[in-house]
Amino acid sequence: MLSRVAEALYWMARNIERSENNARILSVQLIHMLESSDQQVLDRDWEEVLDICASKEEYYGRYGRLNRDTIIQYLTVSPLNMNSISNCITYARNGAKATRDMLPDDLWHVINGFYLEQKNKENTPIMPQHTQEYLKHVIHTSLAGQGIVESMMTRGVPYTFIKVGKWLERAEKTARILNVICEKSMREKGNSETESYYYWLTALQIVNGYDAYIKEYPPTMDPKNVLPFLIENGNFPRSIRYCMDHVLEAVHNLESGKVSHYSERLFQKLSAIQKELKNTDISGLGMDELMVFLDRFQNHCHEISVLFSETYYLVEPVHSVR
């Protein structure tokens, strides 16, 4: 497969996953905020959402204050925010368009359909009462797309690149979410049990893991349970370990189980991460240790992304001069 195509597929998948995650985070947060009336708390919550879904600094670079509608607009349809949902979908659509001959037609229809609808509404800002509807639509579009990939694509090279993109994006996002929440619980040490409960509940909800968690643990939001569940549970499909195990397995299959000289570094890195995940006793870590762990993991993700690109020649100058 062409390197350019592999790269486009990888980024298409990342962008679809990103749009879904950001939509879910915003959706959960909007509901939570209905229960809060303290402006300070609200503002802090918004800052966290910005930290997870975009960049707080960039937002402040453009806007002076936290305003609910501005933030929603910034995170959903703003062309100025590189990670806005509509930008993610547009990038994903461009990626799909450039690789259409590799994709199931239905996948293109789903992405293009959403894009066209969005284009139609471009000049009418999303009304607050329609925000949830829009976010749900984004999530469903992503889920439909993933369903098509799962049920229609041959388990070949294009499939693998799509899946690796998705898992890396997801693992990184889960780490980012936990990082923000840990920071929050550190900052507000000595807070009431209700508040702590609320943080970890939020963490579970925004990765869509609440229902799965409840089946294994009583609804007692103990970070000693929540954190291992989201980090090292091998069966929960949004946990960091689950995603990384699957990345390793995918690369393994791509290389038919052989470690060649060109893929050696990638394998080494992936195996090291796996080992680290396995050997760390998450429930035994203090909050600050955990923060260090999560930071390191996000760096790993970045390195994997670079190594992955190098291994498969994904990083190529657009017009190479030879």
């Binding site: 497969m1 062409l2 390197s3 350019r4 592999a6 461009n94 368009k97 450039a98 259409r100 001959d101 037609d105 293109w108 229809h109 293009n112 359909g113 066209l116 090279v157 498969y312 020649y313 994904l314 190529e316 657009v318 017009h319 190479s320 030879r322």
Partner: protein, 485 residues
């Protein structure tokens, strides 16, 4: 439904002058007459939406950049009885053969010029004549892998060739998508007709493509072929995606290819992979910055060296533009006689050369009845349709013609045939033409049907999609079906 439909002075594909449908349209006519107004409207909308959702778009360029648009689809098909089609098919094959002989001759000994059939000046000053490819040996000596020949019908219903497209003819995807959407949206129309299927065409297209194995292929039994596109911002990108997908070859851009040691490779996730055949949809000028335009970023540096060495086949041939030039067009019947010693099966539209003083004088005097075209423009640009033009336009063209007479040709304004189109809730007559696709390799195939293009703007003669034209499905009835269909 078609009660107030007037055929007027034009040949109509579907209706007789007395308001009755032609024999081979009768079934279709009766079926459609049973549709209610709402049904028609709903089906029409479904069809248009289907094109949009599938992203079957072309890009229209304007001041603010490119815009994606779908070609409007009209559900009234152009139906052609088998017998008529057989003649078209024969005519197409004959024309292709002669045009290919011409290209082979022009890039080698130029006998047709030496024998005085074609004036030398038409070659020498032709912007599409590429000296760079003189004498290059190419697989099968075939310059035309895929051609799109535009046909029109005059007021007597006779088919005439309007234009040969031997470079990068687009629209093939529409032929298939029109049929696909038609089957989805109007399945009932298909029950009583036996229509020649399009299903096998890709096998033929693939066969024709891989029959162009270059002399030095490492893998002549299973050569690696790719489709080279300028990328997703090109107006015909969908066409490229569709063809690559259907033929089962990789869709590549110039930046995916590299020439090393005079061989062409594509950059894959496993390193470089050798390529044998390139079906390119990039214009000659942009193919290789080393040999043509140095500023081109679409092409591949060194491609021409690989081509000259016989390490890669490039389709369609480089320099084909000399043969589909609007001026060279007039000589195609002569080519047929000269190379094949046959009479042309399909006629040309009479063409006046304005560099000839007598013809120029005639054209200037009768410009109101003529169509004037710039020989190097396409897509309906820089063109005057005399009978429809305003006084200022005519004067402007007179001036242009007198300034550079050799830049223009003129043709009588043919009373282009019409067919009913259904738009905005009613049927009205619109001018149509037909682009027929011919594929050449070790054998020649004509796609049964082709892209019927329709000038949807009432009274307009321009069928180009960039100028508001639309598409129709084209049905070739199977043999023996003429009577009851």
């Amino acid at each position: 439904m078609l009660k107030n439909y007037q055929t007027g002075m034009f040949f109509d594909e579907m209706m007789e002058t007395d308001g009755k449908p032609k024999q081979h349209y009768k079934y279709f006519y009766d079926l459609v007459s049973d549709f209610s107004k709402d049904e028609l409207r709903e089906k029409h909308d479904t069809a248009q939406l289907s094109f949009l959702r599938q992203g079957i778009t072309f890009t229209v360029y304007n001041d603010t950049g490119g815009m994606e648009r779908t070609m409007p689809f009209d559900f009234v098909p152009v139906i052609i009885p088998d017998k008529q089609w057989t003649k078209i098919e024969r005519g197409m094959k004959q024309r292709m053969k002669a045009l290919n002989c011409f290209l082979e001759d022009i890039y080698n000994r130029q006998e047709i010029v030496n024998d005085g059939i074609i004036p030398e000046v038409l070659i020498r000053h032709n912007p599409y004549y590429y000296k760079q490819v003189t004498g290059v040996e190419i697989p099968l000596n075939n310059h035309i892998f895929l051609a799109g020949i535009d046909l029109i019908r005059d007021e007597n219903g006779d088919y005439l060739v309007l234009e040969d497209n031997l470079r990068n003819p687009s629209g093939m995807s529409y032929v298939f998508q029109n049929r696909y959407v038609m089957r989805q949206v109007y399945p009932e129309l298909f029950f009583q007709h036996s229509i020649q299927t399009l299903e096998h065409q890709f096998k033929d297209l693939h066969g024709a493509l891989v029959s162009h194995v270059p002399a030095n292929s490492m893998n002549p039994e299973a050569p690696t072929a790719v489709l080279l596109t300028p990328g997703m911002y090109n107006s015909a990108y969908y066409d490229h995606v569709f063809l690559a997908q259907q033929i089962g070859i990789e869709l590549v851009e110039g930046r995916d290819l590299v020439v090393e040691d005079n061989k062409v490779y594509m950059k894959t996730i496993r390193g470089l992979k050798r390529i044998d055949i390139i079906y390119r949809r990039i214009d000659d000028d942009f193919l290789d910055p080393e040999s043509f335009r140095p500023d081109s970023t679409l092409g591949v540096k060194g491609l021409m060296r690989a081509y000259h060495k016989g390490n890669v086949a490039i389709l369609n041939g480089i320099g084909n533009g000399i043969a589909d030039d609007k001026a060279m067009y007039a000589y195609v019947p002569d080519m047929i006689r000269y190379y094949l010693d046959e009479d042309p099966i399909l006629s040309n539209v009479n063409t006046y050369f304005l560099r000839d003083p007598e013809q120029l004088e005639y054209v200037l005097e009768n410009i109101e009845t003529l169509v004037v075209k710039n020989v190097s423009a396409s897509g309906g640009y820089d063109m005057l349709i005399g009978p429809h033009a305003r006084e200022e336009e005519i004067n402007e063209f007179r001036k242009k013609i007198v300034e550079t007479p050799s830049q223009y040709i003129a043709q009588p304004a043919i009373k282009l045939s019409r067919a009913p189109a259904y738009q905005q809730g009613r049927f009205y007559p619109c001018h149509v033409d037909l682009r027929v696709f011919v594929m050449n390799g070790s054998s020649t195939h004509v796609v049964p049907g082709g892209l019927s293009r329709v000038a949807l703007k009432e009274g307009s003669l321009v069928v180009n999609s960039s100028q508001g034209g639309g598409g129709k499905d084209t049905w070739i009835l199977s043999e023996g079906d003429d009577v009851h269909a």
